[in-house]
């Protein structure tokens, strides 16, 4: 199969690692070859969390600059910061609800303008799907389900080598008991963003 490199970026606490884990478990069930890696050094202290999933026969689990085929961003500034991972044909899917870093939140530095941010992403990559995932998560019943909304939107792009049903099934079996229904609703809200 063709190698597909998916990069997921988020702020600590947004559930990046769980989202990556869901994709990994779904790929395992689907019988796909893949490898994953993550950088989560200071995840609980507000830092950036990155995960990489390489579907296909590649031996590396790491994605070099300019080599992500899909960039999934849970936070707009972090999506823009990860632009270096993209090439001119990369498909970008991003949440538009900002979580400003501290110095931006208290007005010491400016947070990027969201329209300019989208224009930049659009001009440097192959496609951009951008929407307010926090709002959809809230609608699904839990503002923390942004990661599931994003997975839904990612599944709807048809760029993954497994079906949305595989991912849905994994959410059903691998995410915490009482959150399953909310997670599935959040996934479906995201799925309808295409």
């Amino acid at each position: 199969m063709k190698t597909i490199r998916l990069m997921i970026v988020a702020v600590g606490g947004q559930g990046n690692l769980l989202a990556a884990r869901v994709l990994g478990e779904a790929a395992l069930v689907a019988g796909l070859p893949f490898r994953m890696s993550e950088i989560h050094g200071m995840a609980q202290r507000g830092g950036v969390v990155e995960s990489a999933i390489v579907f296909g026969e590649a031996a590396s689990s790491l994605i070099a600059d300019g080599e992500a085929d899909i960039l999934l961003g849970f936070e707009p500034l972090e999506t823009l910061r990860a632009l270096g991972k993209c090439h001119p044909a990369t498909a970008v899917v991003t949440n538009l609800a900002p979580l400003p870093p501290f110095f931006a939140a208290v007005g010491k530095v400016a947070y990027p303008d969201l329209f300019e941010l989208q224009a930049l992403l659009r001009s440097k990559t192959g496609s951009l799907l951008a929407f307010d995932a926090a709002e959809l998560a809230r609608k699904a019943g839990n503002v923390l389900a942004v990661n599931m909304v994003m997975l839904g939107a990612l599944a709807a792009t048809n760029l993954l080598p497994m079906s949305a049903e595989h991912i849905r099934e994994t959410i059903r079996t691998k995410t915490g008991g009482r959150f399953v229904e909310t997670n599935l609703t959040a996934f479906d809200h995201g799925f309808q963003q295409k």
């Binding site: 702020v11 050094g41 590396s60 300019g66 500034l77 993209c86 400003p100 110095f103 208290v106």
Partner: protein
């Protein structure tokens, strides 16, 4: 049941590298494991800790890496299988044990995992631990992927018993923190009781004994080289007259580069999984079939220098390159694109260039550094110390833990940091040569790990500084592991002792000891001021549980605070504390109720007393 105890040989499971290593140890029948936590190795010991509660595995969080290796070494001396896990800098702490343990050897298999951190994702240096194998004269195995990490862990125990020596299993962050599908092997309960026969001429390292043991070690090293020459962990892939010698995670990047560059028929790769001692015969045989060779390894030119020496001894004159200006760097970690481009350059084939488009016009973006959590007790302590030391021109040696983040503005409370435990020793040095107040910081776990020794030294040598111990009741930075000061019964774990830091400090003869509750600012500042005026060694213990840990223990929380309309927009809360619960709304400071933990430190800093409990503010109708 813990997933790593799943007894279903042949079934497949998605595992993190560190989980795969722990599973490999279980499959190998590890009976005793000991560790001090350290990223990127921490999940291995965390899994051992969990497994020990559901199986016969005896695991302990030791006070530091030196002790953990001593525990594991003696267990292995009794014939059971033992494992010791540490990050690369932990190896420095354990090195005293390692060097002579190599002389004494082991009976049961002993595997010492050492996790290097190229690029220093969460470390203070990027030292290359492969030198320890050379320094100690011990065999080293290096996995190139996650599946192999599990298998190699198992094989490392076998090799250790075969040679009667501990085996170093060396990983890098990208092995520890990568995830892949693993096929489970057999597990069976291992023997957990050992035996020991008195034999001082083998086990008591006085000079006369060690002279014999050094001979034994060199014999073992020669045997290890023979094994490495024939080991299936060292193999050749591909064909052609161009050679690559590599080990560890770099093998994955080399494999992808060969495929991407279409060099399958032209490049042969010697992958060294059993990398020390260097299998010189194998290396020379490989090189004799090559016109030129490139050594691909992150970190120092360890393999490169050994390969060049082996080639020279064998009279081989082919060009061999590795590190150097046009080739690989000793800095940072590698990635698939970098290895591909360097290989293209070396072999003189067209590279692919970066696939990234022109991104030169990107604006600079606001950084997102990790910060102390909202409601972190360290922020309160740092603020209190800063206020108490306002008139003092103090210098602040610090230590390793979450509180190292205190170096960032607006707190800016860190002036000097070397390694775990260095706060007390460096404070002593500063107090010898500076006419300034010296105020050192260390955490509770770090205190027990090694800062305590510096404090003993300071009392004996009559140094002059204040040590502030930031006691948040856990090893917070690496994920809330216990330490000797933790009340394990609160975690539902029985059969542990508990060492009280205050009692220790008093028993050491520290001249002035005080306790503060950092969320009570005024009282804390007074107490600190008093300690700072003491001549000699003074200690202030700042006690408040880690807010994240408290949440995970489901301790009763406090109600969040809000900014009321008494606010005059001085923003001292933001400028002095920098708590991440603050944000601006309509150009006024507001507090995110979902992040605020109700520590009330900002309420005590606000000159207008405008920050009030959320409920009170709502009643007054002054909610911003």
């Amino acid at each position: 049941m813990h997933k790593l105890l799943t007894d279903a040989p042949g079934s497949r499971m998605l595992l993190l590298g560190n989980e795969a290593i722990a599973r490999g140890a279980v499959e190998a029948g590890v009976a005793v494991a000991a560790a001090y936590p350290g990223t990127p190795s921490s999940e291995i010991s965390l899994n051992f800790f969990q497994l020990s509660r559901e199986s016969d595995l005896s695991f302990e969080y030791s006070v530091n890496e030196k002790v953990s290796l001593e525990v594991a070494a003696a267990a292995a001396a009794t014939g059971v299988r033992a494992m010791c896990v540490m990050k690369h800098v932990g190896m420095n702490v354990a090195a005293d044990v390692l060097m002579t343990l190599a002389y004494v050897g082991v009976k049961g298999g002993l595997v010492i995992l050492v996790a290097d951190d190229p690029f220093m994702f969460s470390s203070q240096n990027e030292q290359d631990s492969r030198y320890y194998a050379r320094l100690a004269g011990l065999p080293m195995l290096e996995p190139s992927g996650i599946e192999e990490a599990k298998e190699m862990t198992r094989q490392a125990f076998d090799l250790s018993e075969q040679l009667g020596e501990p085996v170093l299993l060396r990983t890098t962050t990208r092995i520890n923190h990568s995830t892949a599908v693993i096929t489970l092997g057999d597990i069976a309960p291992p023997p957990t009781r050992g035996g020991f026969e008195r034999n001082p001429m083998c086990y008591v390292t006085v000079p006369a004994v060690s002279r014999q043991l050094h001979v034994r070690l060199l014999d073992n090293l020669a045997r290890a080289e023979m094994l490495a020459n024939g080991s299936a962990l060292n193999f050749v892939s591909g064909s052609g007259r161009w050679g690559v010698v590599t080990s560890g995670v770099s093998y994955a990047y080399v494999t992808d580069a060969i495929s991407d560059l279409g060099l399958t028929e032209r490049v042969r790769v010697l992958r060294l999984g059993f990398s020390h001692p260097l299998p010189k015969d194998l290396v020379r045989l490989f090189l004799s079939g090559c016109d030129r060779a490139l050594v691909v390894e992150e970190g120092e030119p360890v393999l490169e220098e050994a390969v060049k020496a082996a080639a020279q001894e064998g009279g081989l004159t082919l060009p061999i390159k590795g590190k150097g200006e046009a080739f690989f760097s000793r800095l940072s970690e590698y990635d698939p694109a970098l290895v591909r481009e360097k290989m293209a350059t070396f072999f003189g084939v067209p590279g692919q260039g970066g696939r990234r488009g022109d991104q030169a016009d990107l604006p600079s973006l606001p950084p997102r550094p990790p910060t102390l959590c909202a409601g972190c007790s360290h922020r309160a302590t740092f603020h209190a110390v800063k206020k108490a030391a306002e008139a003092l021109d103090a210098i602040y040696p610090t230590d390793i833990g979450c509180y190292t983040l205190g170096m960032l503005p607006p707190l800016s409370m860190a002036d000097y940091l070397i390694c775990m435990g260095s706060s007390t020793g460096t404070a002593a040095g500063f107090s010898r040569t500076l006419d300034r107040k010296v105020i050192a910081f260390c955490g509770d776990s770090t205190f027990f790990h090694s800062a305590m020794a510096g404090l003993v030294n300071a009392v004996f040598n009559n140094h002059n500084f204040t040590l502030v111990i930031l006691d948040n009741g856990t090893t917070a930075m690496t994920g809330h592991q216990p330490h000797p000061g933790v009340d394990m019964e609160k975690l539902g774990l029985f059969g542990y002792g508990r060492i009280d830091i205050e009692e220790v400090v008093r028993a050491l003869g520290v001249g002035h000891v005080a306790i503060i509750e950092p969320f009570k600012l005024r009282k804390s500042i007074e107490t600190l001021k008093e300690a700072f005026t003491f001549t000699g060694v003074s200690v202030v213990i700042s006690r408040e549980i880690c807010t994240l840990y408290g949440k995970s223990l489901k301790l009763p929380g406090r109600k969040p605070f809000m900014v009321s309309d008494r606010c005059r927009n001085h923003r001292e809360c933001v400028d002095q504390l920098g708590c991440p619960a603050f944000f601006l709304s309509d150009n006024r400071v507001a507090i995110d109720p979902d992040r605020c933990t109700g520590c009330a430190v900002c309420a005590q800093v606000c000159p207008e007393n405008a920050i009030v409990p959320a409920k009170t503010a709502a009643i007054q109708g002054g909610v911003k």
